[in-house]
């Protein structure tokens, strides 16, 4: 029974639930059982909220029995990245400094999931405060890639991606600041979508880099991502940067794309991202994906975005700068960890000891890097210059979108690497986000969709669209998806007992 349910996509479960062939409680319990069976090996979850999930499921079943009109995903359970505040459910951001913190409020996104009747299975693992590309920087231990337990599931949202890839959940929520939804999607063979910045609310999303953070869907199919996008997106008055416009028709676009027709669609290949930088296997799989898009009738043109090569440095100045300020609040005064308060030490010392003990090395590095970039003498040369480059990158996108409807590239330069392979040299880790960062700096939507295998490991293709044209990326991604049979990892339950 379990695999019959947990193997299903959200869209399929939605139909079964509506047809009354399964109950929300059955679906939720099946996924909880699956978590019980495999998460010991994956460590995708930091906290499993069985009671809450089942209670939510019961409410949905009752409502359906009462003949209430329910949303498309009512009764479909979901895994939420531990960076979103969940009322009454621990929220740690993968950090010791927040261990045991139970928020007194819900993030807007979480509120919308609850309102949509989606049982929250639990909170998923992540690099501490979403800083990382492998989930190895979680203070609570890494998450393992269901395709190969010796490899990383990407990051920072490795937990949600691994959970969805291993069918612990049909859907997940991630947050994408430099690629944290898309890169895990690529290396776990799942779909990861970063909506337009401001298209999904940041209220209740523990900030890493406020001007870049964007929550979005994690799923196994493009349609599922669109269905979830529809639920979580839309204007939120509690987020000043939330866009007061209707949600683009993402579900319709995904369905249209699935028909496999891309005639008259102009797609741009980012010159600067084709060729060097990526592993040969990645490039090969990507080229294959491009050919399939051509077969569907798409017109491919090469587009130059000359400033994309400065995206990585710009990002590693802007993001740490904002993070150094955003993470200042973790000082052991109002919530979270406090160490060294022996009655003799002064506050300043206790604060420093608390932050020293509570933050991991990558977070400390970025806090210091950002503190440096914002310092009086360096502001103009670093943070200021990075913001100007951000403008130039935005102009590159705008110029490109005058010629084409979407841009494509490989999602990440390399397949899932072995644990520990890139922790020694932080900059090697940063390179994982080489192709995903430009969309964050610009604010436009981007999605990673599986497009093949390399060394038996998943490779993702990234589709980038103009701001508030999220529907375009769903259409193209769904079209590409229609040309392959879905990738699924070996079933952990059988092969690693």
């Amino acid at each position: 029974m379990t695999s019959e349910i947990t193997g299903r996509t959200a869209a399929e479960l939605s139909d079964l639930l509506r047809a009354g062939e399964v109950s929300a409680v059955e679906v939720t319990r099946a996924h909880l059982d699956r978590i019980g069976a495999v998460d010991g090996k994956l460590h995708a979850f930091l906290h499993v909220a069985a009671e809450g999930a089942l209670a939510a499921a019961r409410t949905v079943d009752q409502a359906r029995a009462d003949g209430a009109e329910l949303g498309a995903l009512a009764g479909v359970p979901i895994a939420v990245k531990d960076v979103l505040a969940t009322k009454g459910v621990p929220t740690t951001c993968g950090s010791k400094i927040l261990e045991g913190w139970v928020p007194p409020y819900d993030a807007t996104l979480v509120e919308r999931l609850r309102r949509a009747g989606m049982p929250i299975l639990g909170k998923t693992n992540m690099d501490e405060f979403a800083m990382g590309s492998s989930t190895e920087y979680s203070a609570f231990g890494p998450t393992y890639n269901p395709w190969d337990l010796n490899r990383i599931p990407g990051g920072s949202g490795g937990g949600s991606a691994a959970a969805v890839a291993a069918c612990e959940a049909p859907l997940g929520i991630g947050t994408d600041t430099g690629g944290s939804i898309r890169q895990p999607g690529a290396v776990t063979g799942t779909v990861g979508a970063k909506p337009t910045y401001g298209g999904t609310s940041r209220y209740g999303l523990v900030a890493f880099s406020s001007s870049l953070d964007t929550p979005g869907p994690v799923s196994r199919t493009v349609l599922d991502a669109a269905l979830l996008h529809q639920v979580i997106a839309g204007h939120d008055p509690r987020d000043s940067t939330s866009i007061p416009q209707p949600v683009p028709p993402v579900v319709a676009a995904a369905r249209q794309g699935a028909s496999g027709d891309l005639h008259g669609v102009k797609i741009g290949l980012v010159q600067e991202f084709s060729g060097e930088g990526a592993e040969p296997g990645i490039t090969a799989a990507f080229r294959d994906g491009v050919e399939r898009l051509v077969k569907l009738g798409a017109e491919i043109v090469e587009v130059s975005c000359p400033h994309f090569e400065y995206a990585l440095p710009a990002y590693y100045l802007i993001a740490p700068s904002e993070c150094s300020s955003n993470l200042a609040r973790f000082d052991g005064v109002r919530y979270g960890l406090r160490t060294g308060d022996d009655g003799a030490r002064a506050l300043e010392e206790v604060m420093s000891l608390t932050r020293e003990a509570g933050f991991g090395p990558e977070v400390k590095r970025r806090i210091m890097l950002g503190t440096y970039a914002l310092s009086a003498g360096y502001y103009d040369a670093y943070y200021g210059q990075a913001q100007k480059v951000r403008t130039l990158i935005t102009r590159d996108f705008q110029r490109a979108f005058e010629q084409v409807e979407v841009l494509i590239s490989a999602t990440t330069p390399f397949v899932a690497f072995r644990l520990g392979a890139r922790t020694a040299d932080p900059y090697q880790m940063y390179l994982a986000d080489l192709f995903t960062i430009p969309s964050n700096l610009y604010g436009g939507p981007a999605i990673s969709v599986p497009c093949g295998l390399s060394e038996g490991l998943p490779v993702g293709l990234q589709v980038m669209a103009p701001t508030m044209a999220d529907d375009r990326m769903y259409r193209v991604a769904a079209a590409l998806e229609s040309t392959t049979s879905p990738l699924s990892p070996p079933d952990l339950a059988e092969s690693w007992v």
């Binding site: 406090r338 002064a346 206790v350 932050r355 310092s375 200021g384």
Partner: protein, 99 residues
């Protein structure tokens, strides 16, 4: 020559309220130097007359009306406090004067 010295890193740690250890200082100094050397390329871009982008979305004048909303009860406000006393958050003695 390194982009950042060990002393600078120590200063940053103080500014950021991080009681880093001596050995951490050595490690971070090296790593931050590598990172800064590589991001320094940003300076190659000629951008004098380019306006900086601080916000991805070009919105202005996003306001709320001056109407009270329910907040947290004192108990809920203090619930996560490492230490509280008389309805307030308790902290050790403070060395520096207030701003």
């Amino acid at each position: 020559m390194p982009a950042i010295s060990r002393e600078e890193v120590a200063h940053l740690a103080r500014l950021a309220r991080l009681a880093v250890t001596e050995s951490e200082l050595d490690t971070f100094a090296g790593q931050l130097d590598v990172i800064l050397q590589s991001v320094a390329r940003i300076g190659d871009v000629t951008a004098e007359d380019i306006p900086p982008t601080s916000h991805a979305v070009p919105l202005t004048n996003v306001f709320r009306e001056d109407e009270p909303l329910p907040g947290l009860e004192q108990g809920a406000a203090l619930a996560a406090a490492p230490d509280a006393e008389a309805g307030r958050f308790r902290v050790p003695r403070i060395l520096e004067e207030e701003e």
